[in-house]
Amino acid sequence: LHQGLGDYCEWRNTKGGIAGRKIKYIGEDSGYKMDQAMSVFKKIMGAHKPPVFYGDSTAWAKASAKEVSQMGSVLTCSPSFSSDLADPKNVPYYFMAGPTYAAMCEILLQYIARTSKGANKPAVAFVYSDTEFGRDPISAAKATAQKLGIPVVMEIVTKPGAVDVSSEVAKLRRAKPDFVIFHGYVLAPIPEFIKQMREAGMNTTPMGTIWSMDKTTVDAMGAAAEGWMGVLPYRYSYDTKDAPTMQIIKDYTAKARPQMQYVPTFYTNGWLVGMIFSEVIERCLKANKALTGPNMKAALESINDWDTGGLTGLLVSLKGHQIGSGRIYAYDAKSKLMEPASGWIKTA
């Protein structure tokens, strides 16, 4: 994660920094523990007073939100795409470099609605983990499904690392959905679900969201990857056509991290965050404004139809503190890669 952001900063510094100023990157590990994340945050804020901060998780982002708005001096971001956080009013100094989880589900549902022909819309089931991450988009997604006329036939909650999913599959088997949207997991138990659904003779397409879409994750699914599809707001690194930034990343990593064969989603996310941070700072500096929270917020919201160099498919607007677009990819058994299954879809 921090590789992408850190590398971006270094790269940017070799290119002269932001408006002539160098970026200082400070990384600390929090072990994904909330209290540690908070103490790292406090420590870094106290010691370095940076204008921008990239935290580690949803829990951190939420816990720190209040403090951040009180401080009014730092713009924050994290790998969380939690729907609550794309909220310029209540969480003014936070943005995300992608669509919210709800928006991702919306993209999936739009795709489903689009692909079906007849009057009977395909049935959908949601399987999500009992975490904040998992629960986040579900109610919004159900509303979207209703709007699009897609019946939601089953909703299954599991614990994140569920071992035994036989009973859940038995339930799914009875509900007979055409699509199952998995959210709130990285990998397990998705493959087991897929395998068991197949063994039970179900003809259902499994779908996932951003963190289950990385190539390494899909590779780890093994045989279960077949038929897997899902939404990703970025390009894969093997897709450098029309994506000059991806080329830059590849060139850079080829030099800096020779052992890295493939640029993971995390990395792309970090890089993109770095780009946005820099863009915001640059806009502030150009307008000769101090790097205060409100100024940075304004700069952030002024980003519109901005070109990410192809990391995202469409031009980007950060008005809503998120990037509301993404594309459906499906696993291709021949190339063993995720290949685009749709064009870029924008959320409503």
């Binding site: 614990k159 035994d164 009973s167 859940e168 038995a170 780890a220």
Partner: protein, 296 residues
């Protein structure tokens, strides 16, 4: 789900529960062995499972050794690790209060978890299926193959251990050494050996359970968490009862499956604990736990 009550679904959930209870019982067996041997709950059980799964993955998938050889190597390796742990940690702690030993196993769990994380990384790996996956169907009822086979495997292992502890001299000596090591010593029992054996057995049981669980899900450092869920089983059955582990394993299996089926996954993990609390109120030593004789 608004249709008339689906009896077949009920039967299916119950059956799935019974069969997956076998695996719970197997993991519980690992706990019970250590409890009988050392009088403590081994919180590192999940890490034994993890080690088993990772060793097996390494030898079978990465080194491409044949299945049986990988299995043998894995069990030997985990047993060796367990023996080492017994020697380095448990033996020096003999005689310390239970809570200290308990804490030591927690510390051990943390360290092992860290080691696995450091050596294999936090990534997920896909394990090849170990048990036949072909589903069993009984009319409308469908039960995943590996669930049934894991049940059979667990039943075999548990039976073997039960017979061993009841009838073999070493087994009886192990029980004796557990209940009073000093006396066992003066009767010619090599207590250190029996304690080492206890840990090695628990390691082997854990490793088998870990491989099975790993082959059913993917392999990640989260795998060890499965063991924590089994605490409900061992308490329900009684910490020191192998029979209790089996019965409670099946009960909890069915409860979990039914709650997952009818109440949803949110409560699935809570219901066993609620059940256990309620049962403890009535039977403070679980269903089959030996009542500690309290005399003045």
């Amino acid at each position: 789900m608004n249709a008339p009550f689906d009896w077949i679904a009920l039967a299916e959930f119950a059956l799935i529960g019974v069969f997956s209870g076998g695996l719970l019982a197997l993991i519980a067996l690992g706990f019970v062995l250590i409890y009988k041997g050392t009088g403590v709950i081994n919180f590192a059980m999940g890490e034994f499972m993890m080690l088993g799964a990772y060793f097996f993955y390494t030898s079978h998938v990465m080194w491409k050794l044949p299945m049986w050889l990988s299995l043998a190597l894995t069990l030997a390796a985990v047993a060796a690790v367990a023996a080492l742990i017994e020697r380095a940690i448990l033996r020096p702690l003999a005689g310390q209060p239970v809570i200290s030993i308990l804490m030591a196993t927690i510390g051990l769990a943390s360290a092992l978890h860290g080691v696995v994380d450091a050596v294999w990384g936090g990534n997920n790996y896909e394990m090849p299926p170990l048990l036949p996956r072909k589903a069993f169907t009984f009319g409308e009822i469908l039960i995943p193959g590996q669930v049934v086979w894991s049940f059979i495997l667990a039943a075999l292992i548990i039976t073997a251990f039960t017979l061993y502890f009841r009838y073999s001299r070493t087994g009886i000596a192990m029980r004796a050494a557990a209940s009073d090591p000093m006396t066992a010593y003066v009767l010619g029992i090599d207590v250190r050996r029996t304690q080492r054996l206890t840990w090695m057995f628990a390691g082997v049981v854990g490793a088998v359970a870990g491989i099975v669980v790993g082959s059913m899900t993917s392999l990640s450092p989260a795998l060890g968490g499965a063991a924590l869920g089994v605490l409900a089983v061992i308490i329900l059955g009684g910490l020191d009862s192998i029979a209790g582990a089996i019965v409670a394993g099946l009960i909890i299996g069915v409860i979990e499956s039914l709650t997952a089926g009818y109440l949803g996954g949110k409560v699935r993990d809570i219901v066993p604990y609620v059940t256990v609390l309620l049962i403890l109120l009535v039977k403070p030593y679980g269903l089959f736990g030996t009542r500690q004789i309290e005399r003045l």
